[in-house]
């Protein structure tokens, strides 16, 4: 009887161990898919989509206005353009599973205007040649699908007003459609 009980206990612990290992190893490839893939990008017409804790599971800074646009095989590289406020802002390119691939801050781009091509390295070369965008800053990525996340500091009411104004004018369109 005791032997049988111990056998079942050992079986329970073995199953628990395997489940534990599987859960820990599979978490990165599953839970991060939810970061931005649940955001509705339909009907944005070149606008970025505002994200906060109501429509994303990503752990974003609430003192910032955060907005994303998507790029994939269909859109190809995207071109992000707009006039930015004098407060802190940054751009992050993320893979589909939410990993940060590349980032640029206001200091890196040295200016109030943003004009940035984001996409897979080979596709960016093709865009530069076909559309003649040699002088535009680029964010070369190892993937062709992902998200561009823009963070604009909006810590005070004044900053929020500036960030919202800048957000209204921002455009994120497929570079080849221009």
């Amino acid at each position: 009887m005791i032997d049988t009980g111990l056998r079942w206990l050992a079986a329970t612990l073995c199953i628990a161990g395997l489940t534990h290992i599987a859960a820990v190893l599979l978490a990165p490839s599953h839970s991060r898919d939810l970061a931005f893939t649940g955001v509705d990008f339909g009907g944005t017409d070149g606008k970025l989509v505002l994200v906060d804790n109501s429509n994303t599971s990503a752990d974003l800074d609430p003192a910032f206005l955060n907005a994303v646009c998507r790029f994939d095989d269909e859109t190809g590289p995207v071109r992000l353009t707009g006039i930015m406020p004098g407060t802190y802002w940054s751009v992050a390119a993320m893979s589909e599973d939410g990993r940060i691939l590349s980032t640029l801050s206001r200091e890196d781009l040295r200016g109030a205007d943003i004009d940035l091509l984001v996409g897979r390295t080979a596709a960016l070369d093709a865009v530069r040649q076909s559309v003649g965008l040699d002088s535009v800053e680029t964010m070369s990525l190892p993937v062709s699908r992902g998200f561009v996340l823009l963070r604009l500091f909006a810590g005070s009411l004044d900053d929020r007003g500036l960030a919202e104004g800048a957000f209204e004018d921002l455009q994120c369109r497929p570079a080849l459609s221009e």
Partner: protein, 194 residues
């Protein structure tokens, strides 16, 4: 029949135990590979060296800071190395790195923000009061309103503090322990804290 039921029970118990232990381990175990500064842990978005750190990063949902943006530090423990409790009040006091934009956010361990009418989720370098030549901050956190800079944690079931420092310089060279504030307990609500 009996052995079939026993098989099902053992399988379900094993799966439950495995999932529960994984959830607990990801939330509570910190391994030596993780970079810490005092009571603050550096959030590494691409933490691959350790599967628990990678799972912890995944549970936060992504969206962390990249190297040219700055660094993100979190703490779920107080200066006396006890877990932060939502039923307790704390004081975040001490210096902040000078000349950089910083934000301090109060949330639960899953990143949910406190629901308060003022939409006050934390403080930033632009709105926090500072004291003395070292420009030290003094921010209290808890369920009962306190004077000075204060963040209400009324509906949170757990507590986590996230300090984001927006500076590529600091991303390359993390601040030292004496450049960061500490979190000290101020007291707990008797009925919830036990």
């Amino acid at each position: 029949m009996f052995s079939t039921i026993r098989f099902i029970v053992v399988t379900l118990a094993g799966v439950f135990l495995g999932l529960a232990s994984a959830w607990w381990a990801v939330g509570n175990l910190h391994f030596k590979g993780a970079q810490t500064i005092g009571q603050w842990s550096v959030v590494e978005d691409d933490a691959k060296a350790n599967p628990y750190e990678a799972a912890r990063a995944a549970r936060r949902g992504g969206g962390g800071l990249g190297p040219s943006e700055g660094i993100e530090l979190i703490t779920e423990t107080s200066a006396d190395n006890k877990p932060l409790q939502a039923a307790c009040a704390y004081l975040v006091t001490g210096p902040m790195p000078q000349g950089v934009l910083w934000t301090l956010t109060v949330s639960d361990r899953d990143g949910h923000l406190p629901a308060n009418p003022a939409r006050r989720f934390g403080f930033t370098s632009l709105d926090a009061m500072t004291f003395g030549p070292a420009r030290q901050v003094r921010i209290s956190i808890g369920r009962e309103v306190r004077p000075g800079d204060f963040v209400a944690t009324t509906d949170l079931s757990s507590l986590r503090l996230t300090l984001r420092l927006y500076s590529p310089t600091l991303a390359a060279r993390a601040p030292s322990r004496d450049q960061l504030p500490s979190v000290t307990p101020l007291g707990c609500e008797q009925k919830d804290a036990s």
